[in-house]
Symmetry: C2
Subunit: 318 residues, 2 copies
């Protein structure tokens, strides 16, 4: 094998192993250790950040958790990656530390002139809008780490009206509409729950014994949250606009049925405790929805409507 080829392959090998000895490489490439040493020095000069320690258990390492080997992107792929990263820029919190701007630059600088121009032209003409929220979510990386390592966290959570400590075992985190949520098993209530990440005041690892939830992840969410609670059958008719509005609500998608003319209906079982939420939701849909079932929901809607009626009546009656 030619030297150049050996060097190129060595870059890859060195990045795959992150730790290796000279002897090891010598055997792998079937050259003498002296040659490997010379090669490694050359790689260093070429900019591969190598670092070595002498002594037993010493050896070479690649520095700074660094350097994935040269990856060949097509132009399309490069553009896609560029915009994917751009799409993240609206998020004020992310679970991994992002030198995204640094890396965008790196990406950008390596591209040939014409691709660069193309990107320049596109960058202000394509956008992925996400609501920018006031609320920060500073504990994302702790939560994610706990989900990965399956450990229990002791958190201080501020819900609607109360604030309290509880223990949770995170399953995963997700973002929607500009807010981050954590889906976790709550050791207090002994059930799965969704928490808003900006409402954690603190989150620290706890000593409590975790459950074995390795096989549970965000993909299991739908199954596990569906069944529970005290349910009631529910049916609402939707206009075409109503259908479109419901498509935007994750909870409603599994219940949604669409007719060929664009209209549709929602049908399924929902938890009784969510009725006040639904009342407000369907009032929001206005003329685009008509709830048929259950009676409780229609009652709640009527109640809400008359409350609002009062609110919007008084002052203008003057």
């Amino acid at each position: 094998m030619s030297k150049s080829k050996r060097l190129m392959e060595m870059i890859i090998a060195v990045n795959r192993k992150r730790r290796f000895t000279v002897k090891e490489l010598a055997i792998e490439f079937d050259v003498s250790t002296r040659t490997i040493l010379r090669d490694l020095q050359e790689l260093s000069e070429l900019g591969v950040p190598l670092y070595s320690e002498v002594g037993p258990h010493g050896g070479y390492r690649i520095l700074q958790e660094r350097l994935l080997p040269p990856i060949a992107f097509t132009e399309r792929e490069a553009v896609a990656v560029f915009f994917a990263v751009q799409a993240l820029r609206h998020y004020s919190s992310l679970p991994f530390e992002t030198e995204t701007s640094a890396m965008l630059n790196k990406f950008y600088n390596f591209m040939p002139e014409d691709v660069r121009n193309r990107i320049d032209q596109m960058r202000d003409r394509v956008d992925f809008v996400t609501p920018v929220r006031q609320a920060q979510s500073p504990h994302l990386s702790v939560l994610l780490d706990a989900a990965i390592r399956q450990i229990v966290l002791l958190v201080e959570y501020v819900s609607q009206r109360q604030r309290g400590m509880r223990e949770i075992q995170p399953i995963g985190i997700f973002t929607q509409d500009g807010l981050w949520y954590c889906w976790a098993y709550c050791l207090l209530r002994k059930t799965y729950r969704v928490f808003r990440c900006d409402r954690f005041e603190s989150a620290v690892p706890s000593d409590s014994q975790p459950l074995d939830l390795q096989h549970i992840d965000l993909g299991s969410k739908d199954q596990l949250t569906r069944s529970a609670d005290d349910c009631v059958y529910f049916h609402a008719e939707l206009s075409a606009e109503g259908v479109e509005a419901c498509e935007a609500e994750p909870w409603s998608v599994p219940l949604l049925h669409v007719r060929s003319d664009g209209t549709g209906w929602l049908e399924g079982n929902v938890a009784r405790k969510d009725i006040s939420y639904f009342a407000s939701y369907f009032v929001g849909l206005g003329r685009e929805a008509a709830v048929q079932q259950p009676k409780e929901l229609r009652t709640a809607i009527r109640q809400l409507l008359s409350d609002l009626m009062v609110r919007y009546m008084d002052k203008d009656a003057e």
Copy 2:
């Protein structure tokens, strides 16, 4: 310079220029043309997709619009890119052709074992949720291309109740809540407008003379859409929950004011023709909002409320 180093630099050089002659490189690297020829052959063998044409104006090209820069990603950057691309996977339409899954694999396969494991653990524990819509937007790339090249399109657009041809000059496209929108200058109405991309039945370049809008891009949107039309002053009080709900609506963000206790208000001028939209929006906010001004809006809300009252009254009265 050693041959290996020359080869590595040559890979970069060759990717930067996309077209070059042997002589050119010979001068750049200060070696003979014979050497360059040999080097290029070697690069070919190493997998760089080169292609050559003889004759005047001939020369070498790099094929398949490929980029092989030895980009060095840190682990963090790699993870960020991976998830950025993952975040795009919810979009059913994108303005560039995405072999995203192919490219994710490429990325994935190049990473060392441990990074791979880390990603495996994360991939089902982090998600970027975006509503999945029925509506496809097949003309995105045409629209984007028109925005970049500043040309006029003849489109067939289906709005609420009518369908018609019109000429537009796209400024840019953006996605929000799972739908794609195109912001464009409408030659028919002589004004800027937002179109829903899934409602374009067709879009083809037109011969009409484009306006000079080079300096206008998505960043200019706020300024240019603010002023127009017949406006009316508007004021609504919000509870803390109401504030959070308004943060999610892009139009309301510039009007939003937050007090230290979390409550707030919306204040500003809005177009009179949007009143029915606002009525429905504020009814949707229910008890979390109270519109003070203008009277027209309060009237529209009352009207909507009584319509709904009727809808939810009759049947249960039985």
